[in-house]
Amino acid sequence: MATAVVQHERENYLNQGSGVRSWLLTVDHKRIALLYLASITFFFFIGGFFALLIRLELLTPAGDLVQADTYNKLFTMHGQVMIFFFLIPSIPAVLGNFLIPLMIGAKDLAFPRINLLSWYLYIIAGIMYLHCLLTGGVDTGWTFYTPFSSVFSNTKVIEAGLAIFVAGFSSILTGLNFVVTIHRMRAPGMTWSRLPLFVWSHYATSIIQLLGTPVLAITLVLVVFERAFHLGIFDPRVGGDPLLFQHLFWFYSHPAVYIMILPAMGVVSEIVPCFSRKRVFGYEFVAMASIGIAVIGFLVWAHHMFVAGISLYSALVFSLLSYLVAVPSAIKVFNWTATMYKGSITFSTPMLYAFGFIGLFTMGGLTGLFLACLGIDPHVHDTYFIIAHFHYIMVGGAVMGYLGGMHFWWPKISGRLYPESWGRLAALIVFLGFNLTFFPQFILGYLGMPRRYWQYPPEFQVLNVLSTAGSTILAVGYILPMVYFLWSMRYGRIAPDNPWGAAGLEWKTSSPPPTFNFEEPPVVTWEAYNYEHIPAPEEVSVER
């Protein structure tokens, strides 16, 4: 990666030092972001490969492609890889890492060495997980429900649990670094009300990472203790309550959904104003909605447990609270839409992804209302309805946001432009493939097909075939950007410093930025998204 940009004359973070050492021992947040980029892409394709195998198995009602145990391991490891090794680090560790110091006018994150340590922890966790995967894998479902995980499963639960424990610490340290950086490293004049919404949403994300992840960590440790040392904390044989595990697990794992979606919302909040040439509508409401989601998101976890055997009364409380968290999400969608009103809109690739995000997130959010609803959830819980819902949020939302962000900031990251028409084509393919894959699953779920089924009654086949067909299209849509991004590193046109005519400090430095981000330490005297003062780039409209 480092060698691709040698022609550049200007000094930048990519050509300052080369060789393996200069990368593996770097404390530059931008290089660490690229380390993350490479590693999460690797895990994304592993998780994606598992997904394809799952979809292929489900092409026919009989369990004919793989064994039942293999299938159980596939969906377990698909979930764990995608959540802990791709989605949670995705936008924060790549784009957040790269951009937050640039956006607030800092030379680096507050703790560059801890940042590198985060990546090493992630890699250690990744190697531990790969080791677990190669020596037999784990079959508990990504949720590790006890007592199956603590007593009955005879797969590598301890290994997987410890890997995720370590990955959790990587995530905690990233969050810690962001919080301190946003508090302490802002450039003169960069007040809280001038912070880009991307930074606000990462601040909210970090709060969740910091206060939620440790609870997952201790929960997994207790499961490991149960398996390794025969402690009995969740074990019903000694009077333990398996639901206690679920409470502790979802205390983290529900807010973890917001760890995945909030950064994507941040990305969309940057892209929509830029390609509408407008200040974002209701800045402070969008910013506060992020914080609101982070806080209220911690009050709703037991809506995952409506049929698990919790008390009727706490189910009522949690359902009510779950509806409260939908309000800030709705506020965001309305504000993005309103931002486009009377704008000057172009349909560049990032904007297409932002459209896709808003649409799919809206559908994911609305179907969330079904699941928070005590009347519907008992029917659709643990069916494909849930699968469809959270893929609309996590893939339709978070991954769309991630890809949109990658396209938006790729010129800044690499110093090169990607081929715009290929970009638009890929965005379209992803959108269509996604809907074909996951929309049928809503219907499947309401018809009653349970999740995690290796074989299923034949009447569900038609919809499953559609879904599998969609997944192959989706796969193409994901491989394409990978190809042309790599291609553009060598052959892409040289990117100007601000190809989109975007507001934001990151566009005021060169592309790619120098090692210490700015030639001159910036002093901010303007509000965020001051698009009235930034000329629109001619290029983009001309190309169309």
Binding site: P112, H183, V238
Partner: protein, 232 residues
Amino acid sequence: MSDSPIAVEHAEGLQHHFSNMEQQRDAASLGMWVFLATEIMFFGGMFCAYLIYRYWYFNEFAAGSRSLDIWLGTINTAVLICSSLTVALGVRAAQMGKRKLLVMLLLFTLVFGFAFLGIKGVEWYDKYKEHHIPGAQFNADDLVRDYPQIHIDQRHEQIYFSLYFAMTGLHALHMIIGIGIFAYLTFFAWRGRYTGGYYNPVEIGGLYWHFVDIVWIYLFPLLYLIDRKPLR
């Protein structure tokens, strides 16, 4: 945020990406506080389990608590409080630039730390001898015998001891990490790194140590003092 231009000449210990020492120190101390917040949630998961099972199985918790050695528990609490004192005085010594005093206080802290772990080890060994370690060997017949007034279910007794070992074990792990940090600090304090105005590491290392002390301040009554009143 300081408006002062970037310090060209690097003060000792100032990293390149900070504008000045004040910013660096504020960042480090905020970082440690935020980390301690995550630690509260880490132990919080266990406190949550503790709370629920104590509410369900109070008898077994009471009996288990009685079987712990209150003398060793109290002494250990005192040992940790003493170590917190030496840490606080150590930070003060660093602030005043007194190298020898700092090194001595840090060494005292280490001694107290090891003393705590040693006493904890004795307690654990007692549990081992009494077959109070959860698992196949677990046996609480002695508790049934010793406290005939309390109705004990041996299975539920295991939950108490599981939590006892999980909580004290993870606390001890934090102590071990703390001892590692303080060994490091002692070495560089001896080299004189922290007595020239830059004592930030001592300060934030101290924050961590005090936190581990506070966890114990709660563990002591929650594990040892559940029910000590005379049995009827």
